[in-house]
């Protein structure tokens, strides 16, 4: 799972088959086991709910990256496919006779098929080009379908959305999915299956050609492949898995609304995918986890979460365009050279003061916000488990000093980190 798609290091099959098979399977098995035992550690429902939300976002982000990362197609309206898949799943839930005859676990397949069907229709005219034309068509279609959600009430249920009850499905080996934990296992299973299928897709001829078309559509045409059709297949496959994520959403929340279709959701998934890193298969997984935590957990702690999230995005784009995955993979070279330990001390010297400085800055922001918006006379605020008077000069002096000193130290030690980094990436020498 961790190997880079763009440079497939697979050795000739006959030489490495047995070894590489174990190697390929290992991350999957570990992930599956991990997901299976997780509920033993965290038993409360809200953690499960948040994990389910993460899983849904993971499937969606991976599906989105089939377009952006692997196919080079930038879509501004991909929420539509997840949404339509989800709405279809809700309608199936509400067809009591049919729904009672199928187990709930297969519902995402139906959702996927609907997402795929819509992708086939839209893809038939949008995949002629990549670039701006594709992006703007996706934007236009996204806006249109989102607008339809309040106009075509019969299917989208207006702004109230469509709701249903998952427990009316045929019991699956006696499980009726009444409890959150049961839904958790269903979602977890689907995450593994979908991720595995999407990974395998990237290893098939059409998946490989998606990369080729992304890099150089013209050259691909002169290899016998129609760039348009390659894009179309990627688009349709992506629509299927987006639909699956919509189906999982339907199972988890038992309601779909306009929010599942709108351009804000489409924008979010673009950010999630990019934050994680489009260059690697596992990038979107990290992006989905980090973003869900930001959105759900950080927003429990501060009203200003969006400012921090926005700053994080800007910083990522400006300094680590490879996303988190790129950041991690940057360390593969030093690791292979056996020089990773050279980086430990410089990292401690720079990153810890930097983190403290940034926290100090966040404290200043929070204090400004508190002074401006809290009730008159309510000067007490709690930050990082400390309660203090937000109007006192000393609190400001401390926060300011922490910020300045933290960032100052980071600035002073940054050059030696750079040196260490260069050293760690150079073969040979003292190691």
């Amino acid at each position: 799972m961790n190997d880079q798609i763009t440079t497939d290091p697979s050795k000739p099959a006959q030489r490495m088959r047995a070894g590489s098979l174990t190697l390929t399977l290992a991350p999957w098995i570990i992930s599956a086991v991990f997901l299976a035992i997780l509920p033993q550690i965290f038993t409360n429902n809200s953690t499960l709910t948040i994990m389910n939300q993460m899983s849904i976002t993971i499937v969606f982000a991976l599906a989105y990256n089939m377009l952006l990362g692997q196919g080079g197609m930038l879509s501004f309206g991909h929420a539509v496919y997840a949404g339509v898949g989800g709405f279809a799943a809700m309608h199936i839930m509400n067809m009591s006779d049919f729904f009672a005859s199928i187990p709930l676990v297969v519902l995402p397949v139906f959702a996927g098929l609907f997402g795929m069907g819509l992708a086939m229709i839209v893809g038939s005219f949008s995949t002629r080009g990549a670039g701006t034309v594709f992006a703007m068509i996706s934007l236009g279609v996204g806006e249109l379908i989102a607008a339809c959600s309040v106009i075509i009430v019969a299917f989208f249920g207006g702004e109230g959305g469509v709701s249903g009850d998952r427990t009316y499905a045929q019991p699956f080996f006696g499980v009726e999915f009444l409890q959150q934990i049961e839904v958790y296992y269903l979602t977890a299973a689907w995450v593994i299956i979908s991720a595995a299928l999407m990974y395998l897709w990237s290893r098939t001829p059409v998946g490989r050609m998606a990369n080729a078309v992304r890099d150089n559509p013209e050259r691909a045409e002169f290899l016998g492949y129609s760039a348009r059709w390659v894009r179309f297949y990627s688009f349709v496959a992506s629509g299927f898995f987006a639909g699956v994520s919509g189906g999982l959403f339907a199972i988890n929340y038992e309601i779909l609304t306009e929010e599942n279709l709108n351009t804000a959701s489409s924008g979010v998934i673009l950010l999630v995918t990019f934050l994680g890193g489009v260059g690697y298969f596992f990038g979107p997984i990290i992006g989905a986890i980090v973003f869900t935590l930001l959105q759900t957990v950080l927003s429990l702690s501060t009203e200003l979460w969006a400012i921090y999230a926005g700053s994080l995005f800007l910083a990522t784009v400006m300094f680590f365009p490879g996303g988190f995955a790129g950041l991690i993979m940057m360390h593969v070279a030093p690791f292979k050279l056996g020089k990773l330990r050279l980086l430990i001390m410089p990292y401690i010297k720079t990153l810890i003061p930097a983190a403290i400085g940034i926290l100090g800055l966040a404290a200043l922001v929070e204090m400004t916000f508190h002074v401006r918006h809290a009730a008159a006379g309510d000067n007490e605020m709690t930050l990082f488990w400390t309660t203090f008077d937000s109007h006192s000069l000393i609190a400001w002096a401390i926060a300011g000093a922490v910020t300045l000193i933290g960032l100052g130290i980071a600035r002073v030690t940054a050059p030696s980190l750079k040196e260490a980094w260069d050293e760690a990436n150079t073969a040979g020498g003292a190691s």
Partner: protein, 253 residues
């Protein structure tokens, strides 16, 4: 006489008012090595692009093995056995060298748009790609991203991609442009080796390469072929000498 591999008749192309290709008739036989030469701006690359349907011709026809290619897309022409390289290096820079070649093999090995096969599971694909890498001497660079190769290596890779699909008509657009003498010799040998038994059509500026490789030469000047024939005949043709060759030839020999 058997059907020519490639036959152009009355081919014309205009961009707006400018007529770049002014009616070309040319027939290239099977297994012939044909070079197209001419001064800058004569329309050589445009001619290539017309043949491979990168541009649509204003008038005239292109026939491959007797079959009219009008209205076909580049990928359809490629499937009929015509493959080309580009003047500006045109590879998949982010993919590994091995994958570049493997992608070129996919269609000819019948994988089409399949999503039920795993590429790494096919011994034929892997062996085929490795065989081509060996031919173009890039086996050592197999797992590097193609974008990190040296210029000459990228040109070699481009030729490798062009021949990998097993096309019997190979078109190379200035394969040695911008190379040093040793690199040029290396590529010339390579071309000789990999195009054995195939029809080769190339545009080339380096007269050493042209006269070393070509069975026949066409001279393109201002969108028209002013001479076609064996290297010696073309060299002797006064029209050619007047238009283009004279100075260059004297400088070379």
């Amino acid at each position: 006489m058997s059907t020519p591999a490639l036959e152009l008749s009355g081919l014309k192309k205009s961009f707006g008012k400018a007529e770049i290709i002014r009616g070309i008739d040319l027939s290239i036989g099977k297994a012939e090595r044909h070079a197209i030469i001419g001064p800058n701006g004569a329309g050589k690359s445009t001619l290539f692009n017309l043949i491979t349907a990168r541009f649509a011709p204003t008038a005239g026809t292109v026939k491959l093995h007797g079959e009219n290619l009008a209205g076909l897309e580049p990928y359809q022409i490629n499937r009929k056995g015509l493959s080309r390289s580009f003047q500006i290096t045109n590879i998949f820079p982010k993919m590994s060298v091995f994958e570049n070649v493997r992608c070129a093999l996919l269609w000819s090995q019948g994988y089409k748009y399949s999503f039920w096969n795993l590429v790494s599971r096919s011994r034929l694909l892997t062996e085929g790609a490795d065989a081509i890498l060996e031919q173009i001497n890039l086996l050592e660079r197999r797992d590097l991203p193609a974008g990190t190769l040296s210029y000459a290596e990228q040109r070699a890779l481009e030729i490798g991609i062009t021949i990998a699909g097993g096309a019997d008509v190979i078109m190379l657009d200035e394969p040695t442009a911008g190379m040093s003498n040793t690199e040029t010799d290396y590529i010339t040998d390579l071309i000789l080796k990999v195009t054995a038994g195939k029809t080769l059509i190339m545009v080339e500026h380096d007269m050493g390469v042209v006269f070393g490789l070509a069975d026949r030469i066409s001279v393109l000047v201002y969108g028209e072929i002013i001479a076609t024939g064996a290297p010696a005949d073309v060299r002797a043709d006064p029209k050619v000498q007047e238009a283009y060759l004279g100075a260059a030839l004297e400088a070379e020999h």
